[in-house]
């Protein structure tokens, strides 16, 4: 079942003056969108607006993804920590949690609420404050320790899988600054894959890559798209855009036109 992940409604993007006007577009799960158009026309600004880095001048951006890690953003300049290892860079930031983790966090939240309630109850000398206090206090500690352990294990597996997906397992401890440009782009891709985002927004992430690196990155991306994620990317190479994307958004004269690519 396809799900709408992104809805752009009457959107104007730009800084003080609009660069692109009246955008009305949607993105469904499992879709690949390629944005094309000349430089300086507002493609990056559109991506930054979708990511929440720039406020829309008019209209709305409705994102139907989880708050933590639901949106994966690969900026043009990658934003890697150059002196840190590949593993460290991939592990940075939020990594989405499994159902088990969410269960733990729910139990902990309930315990915390109970604890606060017990504080109030005992403060104003109502009954049940004391017993609730002794029930919830240790509850918070135990769930915290258990979920911390689980999270650590899970994090290591996720990072390892992401490194394997972009074929960088042998560079695990290598500082990013010692890698080639293409390999660095693969690290940035792996960092996004590790978050298993529902929507990936990538700014020119295939440009300046040699064929080997392009193949590796595309393969890794297509795998996550098969599982229902969507990708919006800026792509200058029209042939490649047509090959990869379901739809192409062409930015021209301050407006966007959409072209649907038929499956061959």
């Amino acid at each position: 079942m396809k799900q709408t992940l992104l809805k752009l409604k009457d959107l104007d993007v730009g800084y003080s003056e609009p660069l692109i006007k009246d955008i009305n577009l949607t993105v469904q799960s499992g879709e690949v969108i390629a944005i094309t158009g000349p430089s300086g026309i507002g493609k990056t600004t559109l991506l930054r607006t979708i990511s929440g880095l720039v406020r829309p001048l008019k209209g709305t951006v409705e994102l139907q993804v989880e708050k933590r890690g639901g949106l994966g953003y690969i900026p043009q300049k990658l934003g890697l920590i150059r002196h840190a290892s590949v593993e460290h860079n991939i592990a940075l930031g939020s990594i989405s949690s499994s159902e088990k983790m969410q269960m733990f966090s729910r139990i902990r939240s309930a315990a915390v609420l109970g604890f606060i309630l017990s504080l109030f109850l005992s403060f104003f000398q109502y009954p049940f404050g004391g017993p609730l206090f002794f029930l919830c206090g240790p509850g918070i500690l135990i769930t915290s320790v258990l979920s911390q352990r689980l999270l650590h294990q899970q994090k290591q597996t996720i990072v390892w899988n992401a490194m394997k997906a972009v074929r960088l397992s042998d560079k695990q401890h290598e500082p990013v600054r010692r890698l080639s440009g293409g390999q660095q782009r693969r690290v940035a891709t792996a960092r996004t894959l590790a978050q298993s985002p529902s929507l990936i927004v990538a700014d020119e992430f295939l440009s300046e890559l040699d064929d080997t690196n392009v193949t590796i990155v595309i393969e890794a991306m297509l795998n996550i798209i098969k599982s229902g994620s969507s990708l919006i990317m800026v792509e200058h190479n029209l042939a490649r855009a047509k090959q990869l994307a379901n739809r192409i958004w062409t930015v021209e004269n301050g407006t966007i036109t959409e072209e649907v690519i038929e499956d061959e």
């Binding site: 930054r48 900026p75 990658l78 290892s85 504080l119």
Partner: protein
Amino acid sequence: MDDLSLQHIRKSKQHTLLILLISLATFLFAIYSMGTGSSSNLGFWTTVKIILGLDEGTELQSAIIWKLRFPRVLMAIVGGAALATAGALMQGALGNPLVSPLTMGVASGAALGAALAIVVGWSFVDNDLAIVLNAFLFSLLVVFIIIQLGKMRSISAESYILVGIAITFISGAIVSTLQYFATDAQLSALAHWSFGSLSRPTLENAVYVSMSLVILMPTALKWSWDLNALSMGGDEFAISTGVDPVSTRKNILILSALMTSIVIAFTGLIGFVGLAAPHMSRLFVGTDFRKLIPCSAVLGSMLMLFADTVGRTLFAPIVIPVGIMLSVIGGPFFLYLLLKKQGAKL
């Protein structure tokens, strides 16, 4: 493993050791502090024996230790830790070294609540907790307003700071107006409240504050990765690592406001520790929030405990409020650290 990773691991271990050492020093100093005061000065070991129950001591000695000094010492430790952590969180989330709970409206909200309770007699409850509850609820209210207005203006960190400053001025003006119409007794009560003192909280209060901190502290640590991402490369970097800067910033502001208001509702305004302890910690353990938060907490405890102990022993039997002592002792020490490490980036 390459040199850089090894170096990082070695440094990280050193930092953990340093944090443990400061914690141990704080613990030992707490025992010393419980034996020292304007009356009934006890030696370190005598204090330890009385605390452990090995030596009963006289009734007066044990009453002074347990009823007077223990709540005070406990409040200094947990209060210092909470304020310093809140300061570190705010500075990280807003990427500004000048931000502290005092500049972000929490304190001005608390002062407004206290002034309303003292001068107008307007409060949520009608007992000894009137001022405490008013201070607590108003500081949260003011932070809520700041967050809402900040969001309306733009999504950047600066908008929160600017709105925070504006709201601080507005509530400051209301407090001044109330002071203008207050009687002498009310004025004196309000001034006393704003000094920030550890003699007010009872044992029960101190235990409640400690329990709240036990809950909130792990949440602060849980967000240390997100804070690292936010402070390392700004919003774009944060988003590329899966951290939503807007909601993270909002959550962290709420958490630090909660931590601060719980403490200052009981103690009155204590400002310096929230600004200085995170900066001092940064000089010791660097900018990694996984180490910076615990280090700020223990350093905050140590600072507060030291200032309070000096405040009540230096001119005994006169007790100088901890809020004043902190700035008197902490200020020059902070300056010394800053100037010694000149050129180091805060």
